[in-house]
């Protein structure tokens, strides 16, 4: 393959119209579907109201007055009382392949994504071995074309094998199709290496997604440092472990006029740094996870690592409120699950010894709908917008219901109640932070890149 011209974020890549221009998915039958009398909501496209939505040949063919559209031989679903949203996009997922397929792989991870209403995900590179070469990226893309239910993009590591010592061959990795770069799981400790990566971005394009943490400040911490960690005797990770690194990298990005994406914001101090950087014109985007938006460190009193141990840790209620405020004002433009499957063997051990991370793809929408929308903390429209907001930082076209676009639709029943874990998981792992919770709102059908990627088993097809 020949080298792409320098793209930055305004080159050929950002001209993509369809998810599959940049991401890989198993090719299947293009959907022909009529969603009869669905309540459509696409805040970005300005679509809101009860309509018939027609998907033909995998594209949004028509939005008609309720009861007016013709199925034209396609399948018709009675969607009265159901909501159709642009399907969601998750820029932060761990598919665990290669090397840890006992936790997850492309097939199970993308099935989990489809079940959660996602039409696209970005897989992290902290596999074993990490995704550090063009051959690694090519092999993963091949796997996605063979077995992914929804389109997947793969980031490559910033530094070789995530050792933080030397840069990967970033140009070649981009040529091989890496959607961007990240050493997620580990921070880039060395500021000089970080600066070099930002300089190299001018040549190869692609956003750099950052796990921001100062390992010296985190030390042996396993939870948020505060009154709860003091009370239960667990070593704490101070909020400034995150915010000081964001401040460093925002300064470097400003200096190099580079672009960075801050992963899993957890602390109020971090929100303040990102907000100030944006105000100063730094090209910085940020994500927050459903668990950080719904839970606090109070949960850790249970000492249950399966549901409540992750990095960054669950923080104080004031941090959670700061994240919600940032979600509202756009300081945080997207919700990312940081879906991190782990085998039970690594979770059925004392808290300090347990692996960090929780799954989230299958519960993100329902959990946030239950915890934030129903109590009136945020609007449904904001949730829908932010759940798809993870596409833009990686130059992926935003999923939309607009006529003429590739069909990426999540059909949801906002009144359906279900208990997480009751019917198992599509993911190979069961370390869901929401395990056992009763949630309101459920994804019934997901159309991703024009194909039906998921259909809830108990959802009967109400052919009129």
């Amino acid at each position: 393959m020949s080298g792409l011209p320098p793209t930055g974020d305004s080159g050929a890549k950002s001209a993509a119209k369809n998810l599959t221009d940049l991401l890989d998915v198993r090719a299947g039958q293009p959907a022909d579907l009529l969603l009869r009398r669905a309540t459509l909501l696409d805040p970005v496209a300005g679509i809101d109201g009860v309509h018939d939505l027609v998907i033909r040949g995998g594209r949004i063919a028509e939005i008609a007055a309720p009861g007016e559209a013709d199925a034209n031989g396609g399948e018709e679903l009675d969607a009265e009382g159901l909501h159709a949203f642009p399907a969601f996009f998750d820029p932060h997922v761990h598919l665990r392949t290669p090397g840890q397929e006992h936790k997850e792989d492309v097939e199970t991870g993308t099935r989990a994504a489809a079940a959660g209403g996602y039409c696209g995900i970005i897989a992290m590179a902290n596999t074993s071995p990490p995704v550090s070469t063009a051959a690694d990226v090519a092999a993963l893309r091949e796997q996605a074309r063979a077995g992914a239910s929804v389109p997947v993009g793969f980031v490559a590591t910033v530094t070789v094998d995530m050792k933080g010592e030397e840069l990967t061959e970033m140009v070649e990795l981009r040529d091989a199709g890496a959607i961007g770069f990240s050493d997620d799981g580990l921070p880039i400790r060395n500021a000089r290496i970080m600066r070099r990566a930002l300089q190299y971005q001018q040549l190869c394009g692609g956003n750099i997604a950052l796990h921001e943490e100062d390992p010296d400040l985190s030390g042996d911490g396993v939870m948020h440092e505060g009154a709860v960690s003091a009370a239960i005797g667990l070593a704490g990770v101070p909020s400034v472990s995150e915010s000081t690194m964001i401040a460093r990298d925002a300064a470097l990005a400003a200096y190099e006029d580079a672009r960075i994406h801050v992963q899993h914001l957890s602390a109020k101090e971090s929100v303040d740094v990102v907000r100030a950087a944006k105000a100063a014109g730094v090209r910085i985007s940020a994500e927050a996870s459903p668990h950080h938006l719904c839970l606090t460190d109070e949960e850790v009193r249970s000492l249950d690592p399966r549901r409540f141990k992750m990095n960054p840790p669950l923080r104080h209620e004031s941090d959670r409120q700061a994240l919600i405020a940032a979600l509202r004002d756009g300081t945080i433009e997207c919700i990312a699950t940081d879906h991190a499957p782990h085998h039970l063997d690594e979770k059925e051990v004392p808290y300090e010894q347990a692996a960090m991370g929780v799954t989230g793809l299958e519960t993100a929408f329902a959990a946030l709908h239950t915890e934030l929308v129903l109590p009136g903390v945020i609007d449904l429209a904001l949730l829908v917008e932010r759940l798809a907001g993870g596409a833009a930082p990686f130059d992926v076209p935003r999923p939309t219901l607009a006529v003429g676009s590739e069909a990426n639709v999540a059909l949801c029943d906002l009144a359906a109640e279900w208990t997480v874990g009751e019917d198992g998981y599509e993911s190979r792992s069961s370390n869901s932070w929401a395990e056992g919770r009763t949630l309101t709102g459920r994804v019934l059908v997901t159309v991703a890149a024009g194909q039906v990627a998921f259909r809830l088993r108990s959802f009967s097809l109400g052919v009129a």
Partner: protein, 322 residues
């Protein structure tokens, strides 16, 4: 009470019950024959993943004084060395149908997890930096014998609070018994936010004279390496409890083992104000009381045979409807 996992979940009445029971065992301890048949035929397992002198020996002796059969497992030299998980080790030991498992583990929450995997009563003999409930109970016992009541007494806990499960459990227990607690040590060794547990925090010994009881914590020698303190010499100069700082009416306690000349000076250890010896003696009777409270009122498992009337009654007899 089914398990003793943390002092946090033991209310004042339950604490009083254990302390009163301990008093009666102290009585037994003054007899020539110090053994009672209470737990005859039942099995107590002690499972220690960390080194211990006082806690392990006093739990073992407590079980023997109550006539229980004792299996004592130390992680070093056991299958743990071969990589066996805590869950599998507990499953293995549970096959002996023990009445109680006493566990010490370097990580918080271990005892609680074990309680989820076994039908035996679980006693937390120290889990990481989390809790050490039997230590808190024996310290309350020791102080009550000396002071009558902890109500309104001012207790200073001095030293490395950050790494101390004893500090946490004792803070909770002392407060529950009506005492006022002040934590004192260098800022690096006082966990941020601990005052929310309802104690005062100070970084100086200047007001130590206010204390009725001074509870010194062990200063681990390796703390210097992580820059928690610049040097043990400076630490001792600033925070050591010595004859200059300890007033004549103040009581001195320490959970042991002591680093003589670091957190407390040799002279005060050996002074009549020191309760360190009483604490060790209290450890035995309080741990007998803990095992008694957990097991005596609880029927032996039906799976065990020849184990007293409860088991016989539970055993199905042929010809009778189940």
């Amino acid at each position: 009470m089914r398990n003793l996992l943390g002092i946090e979940e033991v209310d004042r009445d339950a604490m009083e019950a254990i302390l009163e029971r301990a008093e009666s065992f102290a009585e037994v301890g003054r007899r020539d024959i110090k053994k009672v048949p209470t737990l005859r035929g039942r099995t107590v397992v002690t499972l220690f993943y960390e080194s211990s002198t006082r806690t392990s020996s006093s739990f073992e002796l407590a079980a023997k004084r109550l006539s229980a059969d004792l299996v004592s497992v130390k992680a070093a030299g056991s299958s743990v060395d071969k990589g066996e998980s805590l869950k599998d080790t507990v499953a293995t030991l549970s096959a002996y149908d023990p009445a109680a498992i006493v566990i010490r583990h370097p990580y918080a929450g271990a005892a609680q997890m074990v309680a989820g995997w076994t039908s035996a009563a679980v006693v937390n003999a120290g889990d990481g930096k989390h809790e050490h409930p039997s230590q808190a109970l024996l310290d309350v016992y020791t102080l009550r014998r000396k002071l009558g009541s902890l109500e309104g007494k001012r207790i200073w806990i001095v030293g490395d609070v950050l790494h101390s499960r004893v500090a946490r459990s004792n803070l909770i227990a002392f407060r529950r018994m009506g005492a006022e607690v002040t934590l004192c040590g260098p800022p690096t060794l006082i966990p941020r936010g601990i005052e929310e547990l309802g104690c005062e925090v100070t970084y100086s010994l200047d007001r130590l004279e206010e204390a009725d009881v001074v509870y010194a914590l062990r200063m681990q020698l390796e703390r210097m390496k992580d820059s928690f303190v610049p040097s043990l010499r400076e630490y001792a100069a600033t925070f050591q409890i010595d004859t200059r700082r300890l007033g004549p009416r103040q009581l001195l306690m320490h959970p042991g083992p002591v680093n003589r000349g670091v957190e407390i000076s040799g002279e005060v250890i050996d002074s009549p104000q020191s309760l360190i010896g009483e604490q060790v003696a209290a450890g035995l009777v309080v741990r007998m009381a803990i095992l008694y409270e957990l097991l005596a009122g609880r029927p032996a498992s039906p799976a065990a045979f020849g184990d007293g009337p409860a088991a016989e009654a539970a055993a199905p007899t042929i010809g009778q409807p189940a």
